[in-house]
Amino acid sequence: MTRRSSARARLGDLALGIRLAVGGDRTPWGRLLLTAVGIGLGVGVLLLAASVPTMKQARDERQNARQEIAGVLSHYPHSSRYQDSHDPSMLVTRASTEFRDQRIQGRALEPLSPDAPVPPGLQRIPGPGQMVVSPALRELLRGSGGELLKPRLPDHVVGVIDKEGLISPNELFYYTGTTNLSEGGTTVAAVYPGDSPSTNTRSLSGQMWIILSFGVTVLLVPIVVFVVSTTRMAEAARERRLAALRLVGADGKQIRRIASGEALVGAVFGVLLGWAVFLGGAQLVPHITLLEFSTFASDIRPVWEFAVLVTLGVPAAAVITAQAAMRRTIIEPLGIVRRTKPSSRGIVWRLVPMALGVVGLLLVGASSERISQLQIPFLASIVLLLIGVPLVLPWAVERVVRWSSARSVTWQLALRRLQLSSGTAARSVSAIAVVLTGVIALQTVLATSVATFQAQAHDGPTHQVATPSRHEVKVRGTLEHPGKGMAELADALEGLPSTGEVDGTAGVRFAVPEQQRGPRRSRYTGATIVDCATLLERDVVTRCSAGDVFQSPEHSRRTPSGAIRPGERLRATSTYHGSAGLEGTPGEVTTWRAPAELKPFEVSESRQYRYDMSYLLITPQAAENIPWWARNVELGLDFTASASPDAIERVRNVAAEYLEFASVRRISGYSPLPSDDAMVFRLIRYGLLLGTLVAFALIGCGLFVTAAEQIQERRRPMAVLAAVGARRRTLGWSAFLQNGVPMLVAVAVSVVVGLSLGVLVVMVTSLDNLAFDPLGLLGLVGIAAASVLVVTGLTMPALRRAMHPEGLRTE
């Protein structure tokens, strides 16, 4: 006899298992396919999730490379830091505009020496009057709106920016060449030879980080649960099969290896499919713009350690689960492992993971560290809590089944069935329960975040000069040239075909010198330049003469800078530079001195004109030495009834002629361009919805296959029941209850645990404004209910077939 070595024999057992899983026409292709698709989708999502860090890194790298040349606003050509060093090699200024709710960013470049660095993605620096644009911007210029956009981007397009100069494929970006930056602009940055890059990696806010990582975890755990539960589908059939093997002499270890082989098949198919999904998805991604988010296919590369972990870990998880399942039910040669009575399930150990999770979260909350420093314990606690749900479910289902009493045949059939197999029933809905729990918790955190955001938005003080809110469109910006004044701009705007009256003021932002007010940081305050006529006309003051300056007594309370003292020297800044501290061109006066007398005026909250919310009002005569570039123009205008939706683009074209950093937006229905946080927020919301739907679809398929298999397995008793006169309706209802009862229990457990988890996370992350999302909750419960109905509906044909007297003759 030729016998193989034991290692090879072991492989042989595994191969036998694989052979059993794919057994020709008896192969449960449906189940195998479902397993593979389920695991495949899960693995695909995991790999995509694992690509996020690489993607972020790639985007950051390109952004930093671009920043190095075209983004540095910290190096000013006349900044004292560089006075004695080399001459700059290039001057740069930013430009940006909006077109039909899209943001277009650009840089104007003026090389001063031949060694001026070429921005990434460009072959050479565009000459004066030339422009190099991103592919998306080229399309936009070529498209139907090109005519309207052209006045703002008049230069001749000579090339396209390569991938390495862009953050994402749909980015609207351009570089133009110019010669007038050396004349001294307000916002010019200089690039010096040998400049070290100023890397500026934007990171998500702590709150966003919590929501994002929470969301990813919530969607990942069900994937794992799904992988685990698919390996335990059709247990009865497998047990029978394995018992037949036991009979002819397979020992316990062999059985486990064979079962592992079986489990491996679905998992390996799934992983392969997952890679296909991932690679296919990565190819599709550049063509998808989701909420202004797009990315290059080449940026989607999973972190390789994680890719290896997923690729090997999923089959390993499947094998381990199969092994664990085998350990519990000893397959005897006679197959039918008759358990005298299913032993009652203990609750205590089932609660351990949940309790650990709660303790973990409380500890994280109690710690003085920031949450983002405690990622691992924070997420691990959440995972523990989520994993606790499927552990508690079998116990809960058993309890409910035991409490309920059978009133009708329908109930009796369903309850007896559930009593015999409450474990299977609970398992089939455990993935749903995990998804529900996680999503309910996340909904709570999201709702709370929204409430907190809104609360913050409401009580932030407005320093900015606001235009009358009665207007439809607000134009803001800094004057571009001393020669082009606000009056000319207003005239030009009024001259447009569809605009009515234009109304405007100018504002100034002052930095209050730091040495006088606390160490280091400058404080800022806003002022409005407004003439006496307007002030009198609008009843802001009762007496006014040219050269007056008014200060509201509230100034000290309402602004960070506090009240301005008579005679105090303030530095004028441009609103758009934040604390970078623009120093202007040499020789230019940048300080403004408050007069000896500051007249009081009352700020009335009820006034229609919100511009008087500036606590400092300066008549033009007193503002003469405020440099032109520090004046932020604010105009309001209305469109006539006949104005087209593109009328605002014409306003933008005019504004671009006069203003730097012009921003032209509608006030009504005003929606700010999404900030990174807001975008991530929306991405999560949609991702969550999508993920939940996919998860439910998958789980629904699982439920369906389990139910169908059960009917198939119980064809004979069904046929017998039918033969003795049970009506189809009775059996149908009983099937519905068999699915419905565990689902009901799952929903109940999920709602309780999910809401508690949500509240816990809110507490731990010290968000205020705890809020719930009752509509979202109802929606989820509705989806769960619908899935039971759909699954039961789908199994009806199988049930009808099973009830056919034919069933009696099979076997």
Binding site: M1, A9, G12, L16, D25, R241, V248, D251
Partner: protein
């Protein structure tokens, strides 16, 4: 109660079960039954339904462990053996033919027949060759690539006989092998089992309640209420 392990033929027994007791819950299935099996003989275990025939056979084969009593295989106690050794025994020394349902539905007939060889780690080619031989002997070669669901009951039982004999066992346990067959197919299966087992010197423990089937046996053991009532040689 006569539980005489001594054999009529006098040679050393392969298997000796004595004083076996086993209850399922409150239902006693075996109450001190015992019997022996000698090399190459065919023993029929007879008795009415529920008398404990199957349970006795399962105990002798090491599938069930009696609550008391002993089963000796060449003098070695198998009731106390660890599962792994008992499995190995079933794999290498015993073969099984049951009423129905013992073929693995996912595997083809040929694969089913080769299963014991495969489980005990024989080379694939070796297994194929030997199973082909046995399928040929039992006349199921033409359905070798069919699955159990696609063949007749008689073909299935013959495939099961081939599988029981393929590993060249000492004892084949057959529990009502013809119970689900019509008389012609049953006759055919019994004739082949008888012929092939004798040819290879394999002992057969045949559980049946049909005297026509029992007629193939060398001797009969009659069991009633879990105890052996009578042993007699028919040949």
């Amino acid at each position: 109660m006569t539980t005489d392990p001594e054999s009529p033929s006098g040679s050393d027994p392969v298997l000796v079960g004595s004083d076996l007791q086993l209850s399922f819950g409150r239902t006693p299935a075996l109450r001190g039954a015992g019997m022996s099996v000698h090399a190459g003989e065919m023993v029929a275990v007879m008795g009415s339904s529920g008398s404990g025939k199957s349970t006795l056979l399962h105990c002798l084969a090491g599938i069930l462990t009696p609550s008391s009593g002993s089963v000796l295989h060449h003098g070695r106690e198998i009731t106390t053996m660890p599962d792994q050794q008992r499995s190995a025994l079933r794999r290498d020394e015993f073969g099984f033919v049951f009423q129905f349902g013992q073929l693995v539905p996912e595997l083809t007939v040929a694969e089913n027949v080769a299963l014991p060889l495969r489980l005990s780690g024989h080379r694939h080619a070796d297994g194929r060759r030997r199973s082909a031989l046995w399928m040929d002997k039992l006349g199921v070669s033409d359905v070798a690539d069919h699955r159990p669901g696609e063949i007749s009951g008689g073909q299935g039982q013959r495939a099961a006989v081939a599988r029981a004999l393929v590993a060249d066992p000492e004892v084949v346990f057959a529990d009502e092998p013809t119970g689900a067959l019509d008389s012609i197919a049953g006759e055919q299966v019994m004739a082949l089992l008888d012929e092939t087992a004798r040819e290879s010197g394999t002992a057969v423990v045949l559980v049946t309640h049909e005297s026509r089937v029992a007629a193939y046996a060398d001797r009969e053991v009659l069991i009633r209420d879990g105890a052996v009532r009578q042993q007699e040689s028919v040949r």
